[in-house]
């Protein structure tokens, strides 16, 4: 799960009321962290489908 600076910025904005833009490092950390833990889950969905396609070649609907 993510451990980026987004949460820190969210809390700061809520406390100060001042709009904030994540700096480049904070932003990259957020995107990188998301990719690292989401990519395997999405790949799993896709791999499962590749397997099912192979298993289902002889089906018909009449």
């Amino acid at each position: 799960m993510s451990n980026t600076s987004l949460g820190k910025v969210m809390v700061q904005v809520l406390e100060t009321g001042e709009r904030k833009t994540l700096d480049e490092e904070q932003q990259n950390n957020f995107y990188k962290s998301f990719y690292e833990h989401t990519s395997p889950e999405i790949e799993k969905i896709r791999e499962e489908q590749r397997k099912r396609f192979d298993e289902s070649r002889n089906l018909t609907l009449a």
């Binding site: 987004l6 949460g7 809390v11 009321g17 833009t21 998301f34 990719y35 989401t38 999405i42 969905i45």
Partner: protein
């Protein structure tokens, strides 16, 4: 002979007698289940008057006729009969034209739709559109279709239905026709007639005869027909057809299907009895609803946040079944999760083919997973940075994910009770033609439809042209009922589509608001 005649309907025997007059039936007309159930649906909708239109040159039957029946040696009629159903009674001895003139002015919503009777008596139900029943379900894959009768204009809101012709096409073609016809106006894509569907499906891959096409289609041929009509070839298998669903797999399938139905996208299902490789195709068009949660938490995501646990439920956990158009049995038929007897049920589903627009690259299942992961990141990161003693955010939420057209999303924002800052933000933000929206709703009382006007805590808006692995969010909004900020403030996380910069903005007076409801 008059082209239009009017008939008073007191009970089902009047409808049965009217059907008897329409053709020289080989068997009782009510022995045809799709015909019987269509007629019963019209009756449940309040039909008390029928206008019979004879003859009708129906374009879909004419295409079947030209592709197949015209080539037969024996003469087969090329005209159909159409029955139009009305909920407004006729006056004593009122003729058809005075009735139509009166009803079109007084109560045009009395029009309940029509049923086309083909002259081919083994498969009599041609193109049919019946209005949905008024309450108790969410039939979402619908459109409004204009109907003109003797110069009077009516319309019917429903899902087109057709029985397989069994010469030009089987259940697969009938299901594709129903799904394509439902979306023709909304998506502006082709809506092939049954003969064109068979031609498109068998363009590259043929197995058995194409005319008559009694063997049906295989999933790859169905995908090709849908793709050539302009939709994504998004075929999804839920399980190996030789192995039954596990309870977890069945729940996952329900979530998968619900996401598309909530997006108003009809889904063609391939249903198979155990150990059989020849199945049946139907079209999923809507879902039911229960005030109490019906699922057993298989879909609930639990994740640690600090020293506590947060939960994400899915709205489908309140869905008690689905509605299908089944060309073998009729329109708006109930599809239970589990089978009783020999009936098809959801647990017979092997694959699904939603009519997903071709330019939507992020599938429903990936949008659901992406939203869960984004929410987990945001919630955990936010709590980790809260100062000691601050109240924790709302920990028990319900997600509801759907694809929505940009203009519909903005229209919802405009008419909603969303706070004005966020309302204006959504109306002005640069958005793609469609967006995936995951609503974040308050869990308590979620099933109670009367409380939908204040159920919402926020939403995650995703770019449907993005990649699920690459955080394709456009906006994350969470209101004060989630943040628990003492001053009633929420937060909006905005991503600039050009620079990819992420801005965090405090939103004043950001309280609970309405879930998306259709007009």
């Amino acid at each position: 002979m008059a082209r239009l005649t009017i008939h008073q309907i007191k009970d089902s025997s009047d409808l049965h007698a009217l059907l008897q007059q329409c053709a020289a039936w080989r068997v009782d007309p009510f022995a045809h289940l799709p015909l019987k159930n269509s007629i019963e649906h019209a009756q449940k909708a309040g039909c008390v008057t029928v206008i019979k239109q004879d003859p009708v040159q129906d374009p879909d039957y004419l295409a079947e006729y030209l592709a197949y029946y015209a080539r037969g040696f024996l003469n087969i009629k090329k005209e159909c009969i159409r029955l139009h159903f009305f909920s407004a009674p006729m006056k004593d001895a009122e003729d058809v034209l005075p009735y139509l003139d009166r009803i079109s002015h007084e109560s045009s919503d009395a029009y309940l739709g029509f049923l086309t009777l083909r002259p081919t008596l083994t498969s009599p139900v041609g193109a049919t559109i019946l209005s949905c029943l008024p309450s108790g379900h969410f039939v979402l894959c619908i459109d409004e279709f204009p109907v003109h009768l003797a110069g009077c204009n009516f319309s019917v809101k429903g899902t087109p239905f057709m029985q397989q012709d069994n010469a030009v096409g089987a259940c697969a073609q009938a299901s594709i026709w129903m799904a394509l016809r439902t979306l023709r106006k909304k998506q502006g894509h082709s809506a092939f007639d049954p003969a064109q569907i068979t031609t498109a499906a068998t363009r590259f891959l043929v197995q058995g005869r194409t005319l008559p096409n009694r063997e049906g289609l295989n999933p790859n041929q169905m995908v090709e027909a849908v793709r050539s009509a302009g939709y994504a070839s998004h075929l999804h298998y839920f399980r190996n057809h030789n192995q039954p669903f596990s309870p977890d797999e069945l729940e996952a399938a329900r979530l998968w299907l619900y996401t598309y139905i909530e997006s108003e996208i009809p889904v063609i299902l391939g249903l198979f009895h155990s150990q059989q490789s020849s199945g049946h195709a139907v079209v999923l068009v809507g879902h039911g609803w229960s005030n109490a949660k019906v699922a057993n938490n298989q879909l609930t995501t639990t994740f640690p946040v600090g020293t506590t646990s947060f939960l994400i439920h899915q709205a489908v956990e309140w869905v008690n079944g689905f509605y299908i158009h089944n060309d073998n049995t009729g329109p708006y038929q109930w599809l239970a999760d589990k089978a009783t007897g020999n009936e098809f049920s959801l647990e017979h589903t092997v694959f699904a083919l939603p009519l997903l627009p071709g330019d939507v690259f992020l599938s429903g299942e990936e949008a659901v997973q992406t939203s869960i992961n984004l929410y987990k990141d945001v919630a955990a990161d936010f709590v980790a940075n809260l100062t000691q003693g601050s109240p924790l955010p709302e920990s028990d939420v319900v997600f509801r994910t759907y694809l929505i057209e940009r203009h519909q999303f903005r229209s919802w924002a405009l008419r909603s009770n969303l706070c004005s800052t966020v309302k204006d933000y959504y109306r002005l933000k640069n958005l793609p033609r469609r967006v995936w929206v995951t609503e974040i709703n308050f869990k308590a009382d979620y099933g109670d439809l009367a409380k939908l006007s204040t159920s919402r805590l926020g939403e995650i808006v995703l770019d449907p042209t993005g990649d699920g692995r690459d955080s394709p969010f456009l906006t994350i909004h969470i209101n004060s009922a989630w943040t628990k900020a003492p001053d009633g403030s929420g937060l909006l996380i905005d991503r600039d589509i050009i620079s990819q910069k992420i801005d965090v903005v405090k939103i004043q007076s950001d309280s609970r608001y309405m879930a998306y409801t259709r007009n």
